[in-house]
Structures are given as C-alpha cells and as structure tokens.
Symmetry: C2
Subunit: 474 residues, 2 copies
C-alpha cells in the first residue's frame, strides 16, 4: 500500500494530491466514485487528518472532487470538469513538467497570498499604494480630451499619438526611433509572450543571467523554449560561442537594476554583450523597465549602441506610474513589430485606449517627470530605512549591497537556510517573502527583499518576524 | 521552368510570392542572394512587371527581401529576419494550413484596409465614431474617483467592484450569479482565446452554426481545434449525437443577433440546443455581445435555463459603449473561471484598471442604459436607410431580411457573384466589403452589410459603387 515518503522534496500533502490525481487520471477512480473517509485515508497514509483535509481542499478547488453534504467526497462530474481534467494545453504541461515543483508551488502560493489583505509582503515587486500618484491621476482625468477615432478598435501597433510621444520620451534614453518601430503592449510580460509566440519555435534557446526573473513568470518556458543560464563574467563570450549551436536563440537581459539582484551592468559589460551577440547573430531582449528608478543617472541602454536592429527594447509604466494601466512598449525593427502586432491583434485587439490616453497625457504634460523625481526620493528613503534595520540586526547572518535604486535588496544569508520550509513558516505568521529559489532553483541563500511595497511599519515588523524565526532555527 | 498557373484559386502574384518563399525556405536562395531583375522575372513568368512589383513588395514587407539602392533586391539578412523565417509557431502553421487561403488573405486585406482613412467600410462590425458617446465618456472621467488599491496589479479575476456591479447588470438579463463566477477579460475575443488555451486540447471539436463569425477570427482553429459547422434545423440533435464521438467538444453559438446573419434563435431552438448539449455533456459557449442592440426585447439567454454550469456566457461593452475600453466578461462555474483567470494572469496580468473603473461607473450611474436607448434609435434609423436603398436598387438581384437590431444585414445575391475578384475590384474603388466566404468558405452569395460604421453618405455612395460594378459584370 502506497504511503507518502517523508524525505521527498515534495511536502506530504503535495504527494497525496499527486497520488489522488493519478488515481483519477488513470481511471482507477472514475467520475462519481466515492472516496474513502478522511479518517480511513489518514490511517492508510499514516498522516494527520488535517493533512488529508488540505489535500482534499486543493483537489476540490481544482474541481476534481466535490463534497455532497451528508454523503462524503466524490470524484466530480460535470461537463466542464471533464474538460478541465483532460485538457492539458501544451504550455501547462511544459510548465508543470519543466519547472522544479516546489518552485512552481511557491510561486502559486505567492500569487494567492498577495491577494489577501492582512499579509506583510516583503518581496512584492510593485509600488506601494501610498507611492502611486492616485490623486494626481484622478485629477489628470479631468484634463483628458477624447477623440472618437481613438476609442474605437485600435490600430495594430497602438495609438499613433502615444507612439509619437514615446519617440520623444525614448530620445531622452538615447534611443532614436520612429512610431513604425514601436508596438504598444499591455505590460512588459505581454511583450515577452508575444515574442515567444511570434519569433521562436519549441526548443529555441533563451540565454539569461542567473538568477533570473524569467524563472518566476516563465513566458518562454511555457511555450516550450529551453532556458540556459549563464554568469556575466569574463567567460561569457566563450560560453555563448560554445552553447549557441545551430538552434535559434535569444539573449534576455535586465542590465539596469536587474530583477531580482538590483545589479547594474558596467558599460564594458554592456558593450561586450552587444558585440558577442552581434557576432553570433543572437538577438538581444533588453528589459529596461526599472531604469527611471535609479538613484543616480543610468548608464546607456544597450539599444543605444546600434542601428542594425539587433536589440529588442522593452519599457513600461507599471513600475513607475501604475500597473493598473497595463501599458508597456516594444522597440524593434519593423518586420518584428509587424509580426508581434499581428499576434497581439489576434490575442486581444489592442490595449485599452483609455490607458493609452492617460500615459500620453502624463508623458506630454511633464507630470510624469515630476512624479519620478518624488518617487525616487521616497524609494531612497525606504531603502535607507531597510538598510538601517539590516545593518543593526542582520549583519551577523547575512550580507547585501547598498541599493542603487529600484525596489530590491538581494539579501544573502551565509547559511543555505532559505528553503520552502522557511517560506511556509513565515506564511504561517502572515509574512510573505520571495525566496531566491524561485529565480534560481538551486539557490537557498537569498531573499529578494522589496522595500517598495509594504508600509514602513510593516517592513519593520516583517523583518523582525523573519529574524525571530531564523534565531529559532539556528 | 515554373510559371504561374492561370486557373489557380490563388491570384498570379500570390503564386509568385509562394514560389519565391519556397526558394528561400529550401535554401535555393540563401541569405544575401541577389534576385533577378524585375524585368527578368516578368519575362520568366510571362506576367506584367507590376505583378512582380506587387509580389516583391509583399515579401519586403514580410522582411524576407530588402532593396539596396542602386544594386537590386536581395534576400534579407539580419538576426531577426532569421527568426522570422524559421519561427513557425504552431498557431500560425495551423491557420495557414487549415484555413482556405483566399479566405485568409481576404481577412488580412480587410484588417489592413480598415486602417486607412479614405476607405468606405460597408462591412465593419463596429460602431461609427459618430455613434460612440465620446463626449459623455470624457465628461464622466471627471466624476471617477480612484483608489490606490484599484490601480495596482489586478486580482486574477478583475476588479471586485466591477464584478459586483456586473451581478446586478446580469440580473436584468435573467442571469443570477456571484462575483466568484465572473472573469473580466479584454474583450470577447480574449475570452475565446483563454477557453482555447485553458479548456481544450488539440483536436477537440468546436461545433458552430454556419456561416460563423469564428471563421473570420479563428481563435480555436489557431490552437489546433477542429471546427464542425452544423445547421440549426430539425436534425441538429441527431447530428450532434452522431458527430460527437469520444472527442471533447464545445458548442459555440450566438443565439441573439447572430454574427454575420443577424438571426435570432426562437425560444424552442434555444431550449432544444440546451437539452441536447446537456444530455451529451457538450458545454455551450453563449456569445451574447449584441443582445442590447435588439430593436425589440430579446428572448432569454440560454444561460438562464440552467443552474448546473453547462453554459459559459460571454458579454462585452465593445459593441455598445466603446471597443477602446477592451472590457468583456465571462460567466462560468468557479473551477472554469479560476483556470481561465490563471491563464489570463500569465498572459497580461489583468485588464486595464482604468477601463474597468469607467465601465463600473457607466453601469452603476445609469449612463449606460440611457445611452443604449439612444443608440438603438440611431441604429434603427440607419438600418431603415440602408433597407430603403436595397428596396429601391437591389430588389432584382438580391434578397434580405429586415434587420431586427445590431449592426448587420445578411444580403443574399441570387447569383454566386461574391468572389474574391469582386472583393478586390471594390477595393480598387475604395470600397471594403465583408464577403460571405470569410464566414463560410463555400458561400459566394452573401455580403455582411453593416449599417453601423460608415456614415449615411458613405453607405449611400458605397452601395452605389457596388451596384455599378455588379451591373458591369452581369
């Protein structure tokens, strides 16, 4: 008789969920089957009833099981559930099979708990509600005038007006472009999705640094692409030469305020990557959504080195103005933009015309620049606050680099203690962290600490809960 | 030596484009190859130089060829183009191989020419700029108050406030539901995309009526699903029984103001479909985006017949308030909603918070209902205007049913004259139609006439150009 294995990398209840899913999947337990009672299952598996409860709840939430009052738990039966059972879209299979399971489960838990109100979010990569210029946006709505053509179905590349304004805006970043080379997207993540769908085939290689943000959102993994992580060091050029092979490939990078580490690539590193990628004909995706949050002036974007269209550049207002706008942009050669625009039209017929109007207004009126100055000040103050706590309380057990801007401190513990148990124990105390292993499976040393989301008081409280827990463990 | 075939279903220039693509694809013409001159190609293929020009222009727009001033046309070479050449994402392959080519090409032309300003659009399924309540929306922006939480990243199912308001709104349509059973989407097309990705597998069967709107947007076809068209007649039940087999399947329908025919299903037909689908466990997608545009009161939605979650219901404000909002909704059982919400979060992190606020305000303030009353009046007047022209000028050659609401008149010509040549000849005179064959490949009798988009004056002029051309032909 099967029993959960105590030393698995999966928790007990995850093993039970898997076991029951297998029973249903293989038809051992067909639709309508009544399950053994919780007590029977607890005895059979030699676990607590609460663990059984947790597993059954998860399966019910997935629609695989249903309770009938007074008569027990059954394998659920309705038309949709049959679809839900059987439908295994490619992307889902890819994720579930390719991503390390506890990693994937942690990300699901983070997404879930971020919705709850009484959680202290120490890792959230988002501006705190108090940092959003909510009242100013509300006021600015009064000054927006609409044209009927603008609120019909969008042209495939997005509002012409906004793309014109973006050309001016990008000039300040050193990027010379035209409206024809810009695609408006619903945030940077959508840009990555469109690239995965429109430019790559299954098995294509995506090079990335490790740790990498991509491991926590997997737009490429879910489309069946192979991720290869490389370090940004003296051997990078040789490694790319060796690894590239005949497969099509792309290099994804966040050279300015890297997510999750907060690192900034040096000018030499930027030029070096550009040169080797040009030589090997590896297109570059430069994700530049954080550059306006640098406390000092940023180094030039890689996109500024070139005219040949080697670099696809991504920007967004989600990190600076409001994620709720869902507005980002891609700058690339025209054929690439047209391909991506074509797919976007087939996906959602364009981004919200109203969001595009608001962004156009904020950029052209100068409100945006004014807001950025204040925002950087506030983030700087928050960074200093957290660094002060770290300095006083975490110095013995961890190290970190002073933040140069953005949202994050990549806190490194001397001991490999940042595992799933720590994550779950903190969750029990209503503290949510982004552990390093969601950005690099083998990393048990880091936490991505965000000083941008939680309130000052919550940051203090959350870090103390973390410290207490670590003191208990060690 | 290859020459284009005069009697192919493809035009001459399409055949030449295909032939050159094959040369490049097979590596006969590798990157950097100089093409023969236009004159040489014209002689070789025995066609006009203008036809060669057209083919080369299309290939340049696709990024496969490039002109170098003074030295000729070359097979293009840059990193992105190599990706563009080789990347054949599944969905694209599916479309290009499965959809009848002239059909697909016509749709591409429609999308392209709809962007131009001096085109008379006789088929566009969109409210005319003059029917959009642009000024009222602009004014309403002044009354909207924002909360910081609402303009951060959205919860997976969309704004709680809007979902609450939608429950009230749906009650008027006879649908009782809860916020947990609603997902906010960026328009109805995104709902279909999410269903294709999240609930179905390649080879699943989608039943639809013919003609069908789905043939012109192909969200399911592009995901590898099989479309089966059935007629809504006495044999429907028997046919579904026979065709269903063991594959998973769905029935997609637009029972109220069907697109493209404008038909309304009778109450018996609605109940009949519901009963057979329930018996055969075929979930139903009810696309109800047009019901508020009926000139008389609508019949109950199929969704109102049931409590078991057999029907997935789709609504939107794109046809009534503004397509630029990109806001629609899905009503379905919770596990289905959660699955779709999960995929939506991985696609675009939710719909625009600002668009959601605007829709919430319009629904809750009563502005929306007032606007609908005026809108129906204006559409009725436009329908009467077009029907009057038809009555006076098209009676001998075509037949139609008096419009009961919405945007469309499904104009049937006695002779099978609505072919691609007619479409292209009209385009030469700046008149764009939606021919029946994009909704049903074998249909050469119909045009989907829309009285909603073009101005009254353009409707008149466009119909006269059409009539003149038909008189020339026959």
């Amino acid at each position: 008789m099967w029993k959960p294995y105590r030393y698995s990398h999966l928790t007990i209840h995850e093993q039970i969920v898997d076991w029951i899913k297998t029973r249903i999947g293989q038809g051992d337990w067909s639709v309508g089957t009544k399950l053994p009672t919780q007590r029977q299952l607890a005895v059979q598996f030699d676990v607590n009833r609460s663990t059984i409860q947790l597993a059954l709840d998860e399966l019910k939430a997935d629609g695989l099981l249903e309770s009938k009052v007074g008569s027990g738990v059954f394998v659920a039966n309705n038309s949709w559930n049959m679809l839900l059972d059987r439908a295994q879209p490619n992307w889902h299979q890819h994720i579930e099979s390719s991503i390390h399971k506890p990693n994937y489960h942690t990300i699901k838990l983070i997404n879930k708990y971020e919705q709850l109100d009484d959680i202290i979010r120490l890792g959230t990569g988002e501006l705190s509600p108090e940092l959003l210029p909510t009242k100013q946006i509300e006021l600015s709505l009064r000054s927006i005038s609409l044209e009927s053509k603008a609120i019909g179905y969008s042209s495939p590349q997005g509002s012409e007006k906004l793309r014109q304004i973006l050309c001016q805006y990008l000039k300040k970043r050193g990027i010379e472009t035209t409206p024809e080379n810009i695609l408006i997207v619903s945030g940077a993540l959508q840009a990555l999705q469109l690239i995965a769908m429109g430019l790559l085939e299954e098995g294509s290689i995506i090079f990335q640094e490790y740790p990498s943000y991509l491991n926590s959102v997997h737009p490429f993994q879910s489309a069946g692409m192979r991720m290869i992580s490389v370090s940004r060091d003296a051997e990078l050029t040789d490694k790319l030469r060796k690894l590239k092979g005949k497969r099509q490939s792309l290099f994804y990078c966040v050279p300015t305020l890297h997510n999750p580490t907060g690192d900034n690539w040096s000018l030499d590193e930027r030029i070096g990557l550009y040169n080797v990628c040009k030589e090997l004909q590896i297109p570059i995706i430069e994700d530049d959504v954080y550059h306006e949050l640098l406390f000092e002036s940023p180094l030039p974007a890689i996109k500024t080195f070139e005219k040949s269209g080697q670099v696809l550049y991504i920007g967004s207002v989600s990190k600076t103005l409001s994620p709720g706008l869902r507005i980002g942009w891609v700058v690339a050669p025209t054929p690439v933009i047209e391909r991506l625009a074509d797919i976007k039209m087939q996906t959602d017929y364009g981004s919200s015309a109203f969001s595009q109007e608001i962004v156009a207004y904020w950029f052209s009126s100068g409100l945006y620049e004014k807001h950025l100055i204040q925002l950087r000040e506030q983030l700087k103050r928050r960074a200093a606050f957290v660094e002060d706590i770290l300095e006083r309380q975490f110095k013995e057990i961890a190290s970190w680099k002073k933040s140069e801007g953005g949202f994050y401190i990549w806190l490194r513990f001397h001991e490999p203690i940042v595992n799933k148990a720590l994550f779950l124990n903190l969750l029990k105390q209503n503290v949510l962290i982004n552990p390093g292993y969601i950005y690099d499976t083998n990393d048990l040393h880091h936490i991505r600490l965000s000083y941008a989301y939680a309130s000052i008081e919550e940051l203090n409280r959350g870090l103390n809960v973390l410290l207490d827990l670590l003191t208990e463990i060690t």
